[in-house]
Amino acid sequence: MTAYLKLDHIDKVFTRGVATTEVLKDINLTIEKGEYVSIIGHSGCGKSTLLNIIAGLTTATTGGVLLENREVNSPGPDRAVVFQNHSLLPWLTVYENVRLGVDKVFARTKTRAEREAWVMHNLNLVQMAHARDKRPSEISGGMKQRVGIARALAMEPKVLLLDEPFGALDALTRAHLQDSVMALHQKLGNTILMITHDVDEAVLLSDRIVMMTNGPSARIGEVLEVPLVRPRKRLELATNATYLKCRQRVLEFLYERHRFVEAA
């Protein structure tokens, strides 16, 4: 297995005054090029912290992240993030939001006209070209998340990091967007790492599901391969034995072996 993205013995300890909390303990994971990996766990287990470490927005206390065998410890467009709450800049239009990243990443390699075309190409990929001149406040939550995905894709990241990208959406919009992301992954072959707490979403989209134990000191409890052929169809999978078995495994992990206990 060739390691494209490698998480190497990552520990994360938060220190506030004299109190220290160990959030993540000895996280090791290798991800291949083109793979779709989900990290699932109860809230508060440090999934988002892990994603922030990979994105470079937080630093690991010990251990590190290797991307194509080079250590990365600061944020960059090679690890573009789709944020949970879209994080579009409200004073820019849809087009300008995507353009912001494109202008930085392709400042030298693309001409002005090429960059313009590239922005529109990416907006087309997520079917948002029609809203290019709208501001984020004028479009729906699902549309904002589409633009967030376009902004990340437009930076041509080596790894696309999705931080609970569908968490804030209603069920129907979520399903629609999941299908879009699956189609994009199929078409572009991106390497994707997604944080989620939705079991169905994890099984439907991923090649592998990384299940995390509860914090503090969260570890990787189990890694499950999802041997379903692509392209996957939501409706057909509903009765597929493999799908149901995978779903069962994740549910057992989350609700039997690592039940979420509210902090007493």
């Binding site: 467009p77 573009a80 944020f83 409200p90 406040s137």
Partner: protein, 298 residues
């Protein structure tokens, strides 16, 4: 809890409603003329109360000051005395004997100059204090003390430093209006959501791009709050400062009118000062509305 109460209401209300006469329903789609009538009504609701209040106040003023030997003139006398100044605000007889337009424009020029300086310096310092923890620790206590110093207390010191009325007046405006601009800008910068900072980090904006593309637009609503308080304070300060430094300006016009016992002219000048202060405030508010159009959270 609600259920029994509503039930009782219905029971007690039933016999009453049965006895009540049938009321004709209003048509579903009112004709256009009715829409206009409603619009006119809404305008009237806003315009009539202040007009009534002003008319009543004028009446009281007139009645109180009409008596012989009254210290202040009634509105009718104010109008009669100052008719010339109202009709011709543009005359210029040399020295400080000018029309009100020239006095007001001299004051406004000082405000424009001092306020522009304080807007630039205030935003720059506010960004520094908002962005850097050490700058805040070092400067904030200083700002908190300096901002409580009354505007006119600065005037003797600035006269000593500049040895001239004009720059001193501008300095007083500057030092009066800069504090709310600094403090509000700093709060705005400190309140930039972490999300926007993350986006900037992933896109790898350099500090200059971050300043222009994230910081200023994100903090704009706060900055404009500071600017609006600032313009109000500078207009307050200029009138007082001009009374002391003399020369052409609405502040000294008022002081001069007092010395010559032209009480009606003072009242007219106060009217203009109020109107211009109001217009300045509206201008900054309007500018803020245009600039921060997109920054409302979406």
């Amino acid at each position: 809890m609600n259920m029994p109460a509503t039930k009782m209401d219905i029971e007690t209300a039933a016999p009453v409603s049965a006895a009540a006469p049938v009321v004709a329903m209003t048509p579903k789609r009112p004709p256009r003329s009715e829409a206009y009538a409603r619009m006119a009504k809404e305008t009237a609701v806003r315009v009539i109360p202040p007009i009534v209040v002003i008319a009543l106040l004028m009446l009281v003023w007139e009645l109180v000051c009409r008596r012989a030997g009254s210290a202040l003139p009634p509105p009718s006398k104010v109008f009669k005395d100052t008719k010339e100044l109202i009709v011709d605000p543009f005359f210029d007889h040399g020295g400080i004997d000018k029309g009100l337009f020239w006095h007001l424009s001299a004051s406004l020029q000082r405000v424009a100059f001092g306020y522009s300086l304080s807007a630039i310096a205030g935003i720059a310092l506010g960004v520094l204090v908002g962005q850097s923890v050490w700058a805040m620790r070092g400067l904030d206590p200083l700002f908190q003390v300096l901002r409580t110093i009354p505007p006119l207390a600065w005037l003797p010191l600035s006269l000593a430093a500049f040895r001239d009325g004009q720059p001193s007046a501008i300095f007083v405006i500057f030092i009066t209006s800069i504090w709310p601009i600094i403090i509000n800008t700093a709060v705005g910068i400190r309140n930039i959501p972490q999300d926007y900072r993350n986006v900037a980090a992933v896109v790898q904006l350099n500090p200059l791009e971050f300043f222009a593309k994230i910081m200023i637009p994100a903090a704009a609503p706060y900055i404009f709050t500071g600017l609006r308080i600032g313009i109000g304070l500078s207009w307050l300060a200029i009138i007082a400062a001009e009374m002391l430094i003399g020369g052409v300006g609405i502040g000294f016009f008022i002081w001069d009118a007092w010395n010559s016992s032209h009480i009606s002219e003072i009242i007219l000048a106060l009217f203009y000062v109020g109107i211009i202060g109001f217009v300045l405030d509206r201008m900054i508010a309007g500018l803020g509305k245009i600039v921060t159009r997109g920054t409302a959270q979406g």
